[in-house]
Amino acid sequence: MKNIKRLFKNEAARKILLFFNENPNCIDTAKGISLWIGGDINVIQKALAQLVKEGVITIHQAASTAAYAYTNNKEIVKKIEKYIKSML
């Protein structure tokens, strides 16, 4: 994972990370996530793809559906949680 600060600079990525930090049990499609956090689905989709690359978001791919969820990596989750707390 790149520098967390850099991830949070992207507005869509920041919203996604805040959402998953608050709802870590969630699994949803890009459309669903864009509905929860607000924003253009294409922008959200792009940010999700980037976060998947970074290993922060996991993708569950099926034939007709791609769903996204928060990483199960304890270290990454902790780092993000700490960063969000420091932002408040």
Partner: protein, 485 residues
């Protein structure tokens, strides 16, 4: 006052002082008092959120000393600087939650100004109450709506496969994700209903092999999983949770262990796992039904093949090794599962049409005459006539029909070329040629060695055979089990 009451009132005051409804109140106060900035004092006149200079904080203590903590009315007074101040109570129902304090006013407020402030305060409180209710609703409904959406997504993910192994693995991975746990296992009851058989065990920290003790079967009633399967009751312990998979009767259990943040599992997570288990059962049952249907289909084809074989062994059907080779090439090419199933059907019955070819042609040693060859070429159409009545075999028809096409378009029956030829037919063409060369067929003459046959196929790569299929075939054919198919 009880500590809990004090805290509740304090929290209310803090939220109210930060709420958007207070800004409208301030605007009114600015109009009638010429002062919009105010401080907040708690019900005992202790300052909680103050603007202005520190010396004004003493006002709170001053008011408290006046023993007016139960005062439900406004109070205009002069502070130590001899300037007019106004404290206004924040009252809701029978409770005084605190006071708003305006300091250093130009003059003592008139009654009309006090009335305006009172009305404005009432409105602000009502607005705040609405805001609070909305927030509460948002906090209660939103997580549930997100959970519901998660379950809906899980349903979509699970219903997109009918392959049992893939499905069970997917259920386990989704369980890990939703439960935020490090370990998950799915066990199904065996036919005797006495044992639980682990079907998927996933641990985020290490790979669990099928030979691992965690894959050993468990007797009903033993360990948490066994007890849940026996009683049908969910179990929630500090670091593990287990729910039964129930469809009329118990078919297995699903369990999660060790949350990634080391926190205990809560009731909300248990509810999610129960709902996930309900979805999983439906998907498992669908996959089981599909597997049963598949078995029936294979049974029908094998019966048909056996019937044909009884007329003339090895004429209408191919060896098991041939079928295995066809499937192995398909796996190597990574054909979709659905295509592999259809290819399997086609590989079991590629030459059914030979049934209509006279025995003297089938068993004729040496080359066939043009007329005889034309009869053999037409046998594919006969094959199709035989199997087209079986609905589940329809997707296999193009494979059977075109498995004598050549990559360069010089084959039969339609002279298709390149990718026009179905992928399954291109695979069958290579495997069929290999089998023909290494086995003695009446019209093919002497058999050759597997190595020679492979060389022959490579020589025809790109002309008779699809290059990609030949590459996959070479990898498969080099395996010892395919040397003598």
């Amino acid at each position: 006052m009880k500590e809990s009451d004090r805290k509740e009132k304090y929290d209310f005051l803090i939220r109210f002082s930060k709420s958007s409804s207070i800004s409208a109140f301030r605007k009114i106060c600015l109009k009638v008092l010429k002062k919009g900035r105010c401080s907040f004092l708690d019900s005992e006149y202790k300052p909680v959120k103050c603007v202005g200079e520190c010396r004004h904080l003493k006002l709170g203590k001053y008011l408290a000393m006046m023993k007016s903590s139960h005062l439900r009315e406004y109070m205009a007074f002069k502070c130590s600087c001899n300037k007019v101040c106004l404290s206004f109570p924040i009252v809701q129902g029978s409770s005084v939650y605190g006071h708003v304090l305006f300091m250093h006013l130009d003059s003592e407020p008139k009654k009309s100004a006090i009335d305006a402030i009172r009305i404005s305060m009432d409105m602000a409180l009502k607005e705040f109450q609405k805001e609070q209710e909305l927030n509460k609703l948002y906090e209660t409904i939103r997580p549930r709506a997100i959970a519901l959406s998660t379950i809906h997504t899980i349903h979509r993910l699970l219903s997109s496969t009918l392959n049992m192994d893939e499905l069970i693995e997917r259920i386990a991975r989704l369980t890990l994700q939703v439960m935020r746990s490090r370990h998950c296992s799915i066990m199904l009851l065996d036919e005797s209903k006495k044992y639980l058989i682990p079907k998927a065990v996933i641990n985020l920290d290490k790979e669990i092999l099928r030979t691992d003790p965690q894959y050993r079967k468990i007797r009903l009633g033993v360990r948490m999983e066994g007890k849940v399967a026996k009683t049908g009751k969910v179990a929630i312990l500090k670091n593990s949770v287990c729910v039964p998979l129930v469809e009329e009767e118990i078919i297995g259990v699903i369990s999660a262990r060790d949350k990634i943040n080391d926190a205990p599992f809560d009731r909300f997570e248990l509810e999610i796992l129960i709902t996930l288990a309900e979805q999983a059962v439906i998907a498992i049952k669908n996959a089981q039904m599909y597997e049963e249907q598949e078995r029936m289909a294979y049974g029908s084809i094998k019966t048909l093949a056996a019937l044909l074989d009884s007329k003339s062994p090895n004429t209408f059907t191919h060896s098991d090794q041939f079928v295995k080779m066809v499937l192995a090439i398909a796996e190597e090419i990574k054909l979709p599962r659905e295509d592999i199933i259809n290819l399997h059907y086609a590989a079991l019955l590629p030459d059914t049409g030979k049934f209509s070819v006279p025995d003297e042609i089938l068993k004729k040693p040496g080359s066939l005459s043009r007329k005889e060859y034309d009869i053999v070429k037409k046998q594919h159409l006969e094959s199709i006539k035989i199997i087209e009545h079986m609905e589940f075999l329809k997707p296999a028809i193009p494979i059977i029909k075109h498995h004598h096409e050549r990559f360069d378009g010089k084959g039969y029956p339609d002279g298709l070329e390149g990718n026009q030829i179905p992928a399954g037919a291109r695979i069958m063409a290579v495997a069929n040629a290999f089998e023909a060369m290494i086995s003695a067929r009446p019209y093919k003459g002497k058999k050759i060695s597997a190595a020679q046959a492979i060389r022959e196929i490579v020589r025809n790569k790109g002309t008779q055979f699809d290059p990609r299929t030949v590459d996959a075939f070479i990898k498969v054919a080099e395996k010892p089990e395919y040397r003598n198919i």
